[in-house]
Amino acid sequence: MNSLTDIEVKELSLRAEDIRESIIKMLTTAGSGHTAGPLGLADIFTLLYFRVLKHNPKHPDWVGRDRVILSNGHCAPVLYASLAHSRYFPIEELNTLRKFGSRLQGHPHRESLPGIETTSGPLGCGLSQAVGMALADRLENYKPERYFYVTIGDGELNEGQNWEAFLHLNKYKLNKIITIIDRNSIQIDGFTEDVLPTESLRNKFESFNFHVIEVDGHNFRDLYTAIGQAKSTLEKPTVIIAHTIPGKGVLEFEGDFHWHGKSPNKDEAKQAIKELRTLRGKIEKE
């Protein structure tokens, strides 16, 4: 994997702002949902869907695809927006989020929407499913390589099932699973280190025999390099601890755990979109 060019970084940055705007709009229309996590993950998802993944939106079940497993299912808006902007389904459909009859369920449902690999929402379940997929991949000895990108929230690490899955990853040396921890340091009740101290994450993962990379989750170049390093590490699986800012892109939301689990009202959305567009304008001029 080569590193990203300036033009690529610019394109990704613009795309990420579009995805953020979609997230704000869909949450406001829905009237409920999670804001901080999806905004914080927007850069990671943009990079995955528009640069990293081998996938085919016209054939979402294409057997050779890489898979994204959103274990932190409450961050569904960032997944939905990424899928829509990749043309898995019309962008207008994002406005049906959380509404009766919608394919965009409050938390992702595998059978409802093309491009959804696993049902998620109850926390801690995603990595185990990726383990099963990677074991299937190994049984089939599938070529060329397929990768399994799993995003897990840092608060989600409270769930014991994750640690069962980390043991499984180590046992089977499933190097095609690239685990991305969204280290935004908040969860519903407050800061992660107050609710249930999680540090030192690096030491924990290293003691589980992972290759650990810490990276700025908003820096496309560093993220891209980290994924490249993960792919070229064959002897053990990689965990990328991506440091992100919850609510990234909207000053009022950034870093405030109160925005973990609520959606913006119309005025807040208006202000947020104004900010995002100002930022977008600056990027365009660069």
Binding site: G132, M133, A136, Q161
Partner: protein, 323 residues
């Protein structure tokens, strides 16, 4: 249908889990999509033969019932047919939400195999006696629930599950129990099976509906009741879900009362399933034999059957009490 050696000196005994283990090996030979996962109980749940024959398709997950459910779900979403086993108390006991979300709501064909179910597991005591598992699995959309009455039926159901493309729960038991069915028994999905009909046309007609090895007690009770002039038809219900409602409706119209018999809480199990359906579509007198809102305890199987009212004697009393 019934094994000719049953109720003779030559009566054979074999645990249902052994029938499962033999069938798993056999379906593994012909279907390479069959994989097995276990949570540190491989010999207990009789996956050892499969493990030895197909080591690359066997996954020792360690004591991680919740993680194992997710791994099985992932394998199933990639076209495999995973059988995942532990003691029923721990799977589906401990990992219910994972089964609900990642197996049933995902709608992937994982086979949850719960071994050592019921109080018959005995000396281990209440912590290891799963008597709520049928209830836990029966209420889940997309889930199918199977309870074999002996090793022959366990073999037949497992073979069926080798080709079954939906989530399923298979309930197994630890103890050796009578071989009730003939070797040539063929399992029919979702169908009740009449095991025994009265020798003549009695004035009093009662139906006993049962599942699992405890049906042996029901068969014994039927013999006793005939001596007292009560004609009993004994029905085996190996598929609890989907329930054979067509049969139930027809059957209920031909008997005065129905007694259900199971080694499970009377709340939520087979008896509940039967009562729910009939109370709505053909109300009839129903009595349920099972464990009545209690935990189990240590003891030998006969002692526990006596204490919890599960012997043929108790079934006889129950039948007489409602006609």
């Amino acid at each position: 249908m019934l094994n000719k050696k049953l109720f003779t000196i030559k009566q054979e005994e074999k645990p249902t889990r052994e029938g499962f283990g033999e069938a798993l090996l056999d379906i593994g030979k012909t279907n390479e999509k069959v994989v097995a996962l276990c949570a540190d109980l491989t010999e207990s749940v009789k996956m050892d033969k499969f493990r030895d024959a197909f080591p690359e398709r066997f996954f020792e997950m360690g004591i991680t019932e919740q993680g194992m459910s997710g791994v099985a779900s992932g394998l199933a979403s990639c076209g495999y047919n995973p059988f995942m086993a532990s003691y029923a108390m721990f799977s589906p006991g401990r990992n219910w939400e994972q089964i609900r979300t990642t197996i049933c709501y995902n709608n992937v064909p994982v086979k949850v195999v719960g071994a050592h179910a019921g109080i018959s597991v005995g000396p281990d005591g209440a912590t290891h006696q799963a008597i709520e598992d049928i209830a836990l699995m029966r209420i889940l959309p997309n889930m199918n629930v199977f309870v074999p009455c002996d090793a022959v039926e366990a073999y037949a159901i497992t073979k069926f599950l080798g080709k079954f493309d939906h989530p399923a729960y298979l309930r197994l038991t630890r103890e050796k129990t009578p071989v009730i069915l003939n070797d040539d028994y063929e399992f029919s999905f979702g169908k009740a099976i009449v095991m025994q009909i009265p020798k003549k046309d009695f004035k009093n007609k009662v139906g006993i509906i049962s599942c699992g090895p405890i049906i042996y007690e029901a068969l014994k009770a039927a013999k006793e009741l005939e001596k007292d002039g009560i004609g009993v038809t004994v029905v085996n219900m190996p598929t609890i879900k989907p329930l054979d409602t067509k049969f139930l409706l027809r059957f209920a119209k031909n008997v005065q009362a129905i007694v259900t018999v199971e080694e499970h809480q009377i709340a939520g199990g087979l008896g509940s399933a039967v009562a729910e359906f009939l109370s709505e579509y053909h109300p009839i007198k129903i009595a349920r034999v099972g464990i009545d809102d209690r935990f189990g305890q240590s003891g030998k199987q006969p002692e526990l059957y006596e204490e919890y009212g599960l012997t043929s004697k108790h079934i006889v009393e129950k039948v007489k009490s409602i006609i």
